[in-house]
Amino acid sequence: MIARPEAPFDRWRRSGGWLGVVVLVGMIAVALVGPLALPDPASQPDIVAGAQPPSLAHPFGTDVLSRDVLSRVVSGARISLAIAALAVTLSLVLGATFGLVAGYWGGWVDTVLMRLVDGALAIPRLFLLLLLVTVWDRLTIVPFVLVIGATGWFGTSRLVRAEVLRIKSEPFVQAAQALGAKPARIVRRHLLPNTAGPLLVAATLGVGNVILLEAGLSFLGVGGVRPPTPSWGRMIFEGKSVLATAPWTSIFPGVAIVVTVLAVNLIGEALRDHLDPKNA
C-alpha cells in the first residue's frame, strides 16, 4: 500500500483553521456576554484619575476619561463584529444576486452588469467611503453598515458569476431543464447551492476586511460609530493623542483587531483549502 505522504504544512494549515474557529467563537462569546459582566464603560468617568496603566482592578488600564479599557474593548467587539457581520451579509446577498443574474442570463444583461461592476471596482473603496462620510456628516451606524455592505460586493459578484458560468454548463443543469424546471428554480436550487463554497470563503475573508475597514475609517475619525460608543478603531483614534504616555489605550484594541482578523483569515484559508476540489 502506498500512502500519500502528507505535506508538512497540511496539518499546520488545518489546525490553523481550527485555531481561528476557537478564537473567533471566543471573541463572539465575549462580545455577547462580556458587556453584561463588566462595568459599563461609559458610566464611570473620573477625569481626575486620568489614564491609568494596567492593574489588577483594570487589567487593560484606563483611558484618559478613566474608563476601563477592557470593558471598552469588549463592548467594541460587539460593535465591530456586528458591523462586519451585517455588512458582509449585505455584500453577499448583493454579490450573489448580481453574479447569478449576470452569469445565468448572460448576453446583454451580463455585459451591462459586469461593466457596472468593472466601473465600481475602478473606484477605490476607501475614498468612496470617505467621500460619502464627508458629504453625509451625520452618518449613523445603520447607514454606515449599509454603505460598507453596498460597496463590498463587486468582487463577490464576479466570483459568483464565474462559478455560475462553470456550473451552468454542467450536465445536471441541462438535465434539470430537460425536466421542465423554471429558470428561477434552476438558479435557486442548482446554481446557488453549488456556489456556496466559494461564497463562504469570500464571506469569511470579507469579515476580516470589513473589520479593518471600519477600524481604518474610525481611526481617521469618520466612522459611523459616535462617541461614547466604543469601536476598536474609534478607541485607537481616541488613544492617539496620548500614545506616548498611555499606549495601553490604543494597544489593546489594536491587539483585538489583529487577533480577530487573523482568526477570520485563518478560517478563510482553511475553508478555501478544504473546499477547493484541486486540494481534495
Binding site: P171, A175, Q177, L179, P193, N194, A196
Partner: protein, 322 residues
C-alpha cells in the same frame, strides 16, 4: 402502430460571425407508441442536436430552421413558448444523458432529486412523492432503495447513478423517453443491465424510446427500428433485423463491416476511409460520396429518399432506378 412523435424536415442552424452552419439538415423520422427507434451515427453527425431540438434545449447560438415540425400526438412543439415547452419537458418527453457522473446535482441526495422531479409536474405532497420515489428506485433495479434514497451522487457508482437518472426521467410517466448515449460512459457489464432496464420499462410503461448511440452493437436486439445518420442527414431507416441483413446505403454497409462479428466466418475488419467532415465543410450532393467506394457522377447531387422495401428507406443513387 400509431405515430406518437413525428419529426419532419428538421434543420438546426448555428449562427456565428464566420457564417451559418447546419449540423442537422432535413431530418425526418417517426416514433410509434411503445417502439424503440435507434438513432445511430458517429460523433459530430448531429444526433445529439437532433435530440436536444426535440425538447428545444439547443445552445443559445443554435436554432431550429423554418419549415421544421416536431409533432407530439399531433401537436407541433416548434412554435410553443417556453412555458408551454416546460410543461412538455419531463412530463411528456423525458431525456437521460450520456454522463451519469455529472447529470445529477452533487449537492442533493438521489432521493431528493427524484422527489423534486415528481413534484415539479405533479401536485403531490412530500410524503407521497417520497413513496413514489422509493417505488421508482425499486423499479430501476436499485437494491436497498431505502438507504440509497439518502445517498449523495458521489456515493453511488456510475451504473447506480444512471439508474437514478432513469428513475427521474420516469417520474412523470413520459410518453417519450430520449436516451442520449445512455451507456457510453459505463462499463460493458453495466451497459447491458441499463439497456435491459430501459427495455423492461418501455414495455411496462408503454413508452416510446429514442435511443441515441454511436454503437451499432447495442442496437441489435433492443431497437425495433434503426435510423442511420451521417453528416447531419438520415441516410437509411430500416427495421433492425433488416438493416443488419440487407444494409442498403454504402455508409451503413461500411459501418457494419467495421464492427467485429462473433458469429459467421472470420473476416478482416474494414475501416471507413477518411474522416467525417465538419459541418462547415460538408460536400455537395450525397455527403458520403468522397468516402464512398461506389461513388459516381450523380452523387454530386443530393439523392432522394426512396423506399427499398416495406419500412426500409434510403437516400442513395445506387438504389434509385435510372
Amino acid at each position: 402502430m400509431t405515430t406518437l412523435l413525428d419529426v419532419r424536415r428538421l434543420t438546426v442552424n448555428f449562427f456565428s460571425e464566420a457564417g451559418t452552419v447546419t449540423p442537422v439538415d432535413d431530418v425526418s423520422f417517426q416514433l410509434a407508441k411503445g417502439e424503440t427507434l435507434a438513432l445511430v451515427g458517429e460523433s459530430g453527425c448531429g444526433k445529439s442536436l437532433t435530440a436536444l431540438s426535440i425538447l428545444q434545449l439547443l445552445p443559445r447560438a443554435a436554432s431550429i430552421g423554418p419549415g421544421s415540425t416536431i409533432e407530439l400526438d399531433g401537436q407541433d412543439l416548434v412554435p410553443l413558448d417556453e412555458a408551454a415547452l416546460r410543461a412538455v419537458r419531463g412530463a411528456r418527453i423525458a431525456m437521460i444523458f450520456q454522463d451519469p457522473m455529472t447529470s445529477l446535482d452533487p449537492v442533493y441526495t438521489a432521493g431528493s432529486q427524484i422527489t423534486e422531479a415528481i413534484r415539479a409536474h405533479r401536485n403531490v405532497g412530500k410524503r407521497q412523492a417520497r413513496e413514489r420515489a422509493l417505488e421508482l428506485l425499486e423499479e430501476v433495479g436499485i437494491p436497498d432503495p431505502l438507504s440509497r434514497f439518502d445517498q449523495y451522487p458521489h456515493e453511488l457508482s456510475g451504473g447506480m447513478r444512471q439508474r437514478v437518472m432513469i428513475a427521474i426521467a420516469l417520474s412523470c410517466e413520459p410518453q417519450v423517453l430520449i436516451a442520449d448515449e445512455p451507456t457510453t460512459a459505463l462499463d460493458v457489464t453495466v451497459q447491458a443491465q441499463i439497456l435491459e432496464i430501459l427495455d423492461r420499462l418501455r414495455r411496462s410503461h408503454d413508452m416510446a424510446v429514442l435511443l441515441i448511440t454511436h454503437d451499432l452493437g447495442i442496437v441489435a436486439g433492443r431497437a425495433d427500428r434503426v435510423a442511420v445518420m451521417y453528416a447531419g442527414r438520415i441516410v437509411e431507416t430500416a427495421p433492425t433485423d433488416r438493416l443488419f441483413q440487407h444494409p442498403a446505403h454504402p455508409y451503413t454497409q461500411a459501418l457494419l463491416a467495421s464492427v467485429p462479428r462473433l458469429t459467421g466466418p472470420l473476416q478482416r475488419l474494414t475501416p471507413i476511409q477518411g474522416t467525417v467532415p465538419n459541418p462547415d465543410a460538408w460536400p455537395a450532393g450525397c455527403r458520403f460520396h468522397p468516402r464512398c467506394p461506389y461513388a459516381f457522377d450523380r452523387c454530386q447531387q443530393q439523392p432522394p429518399v426512396r423506399a427499398v422495401a416495406d419500412g426500409h428507406e434510403t437516400a442513395c443513387w445506387l438504389e434509385s432506378p435510372q
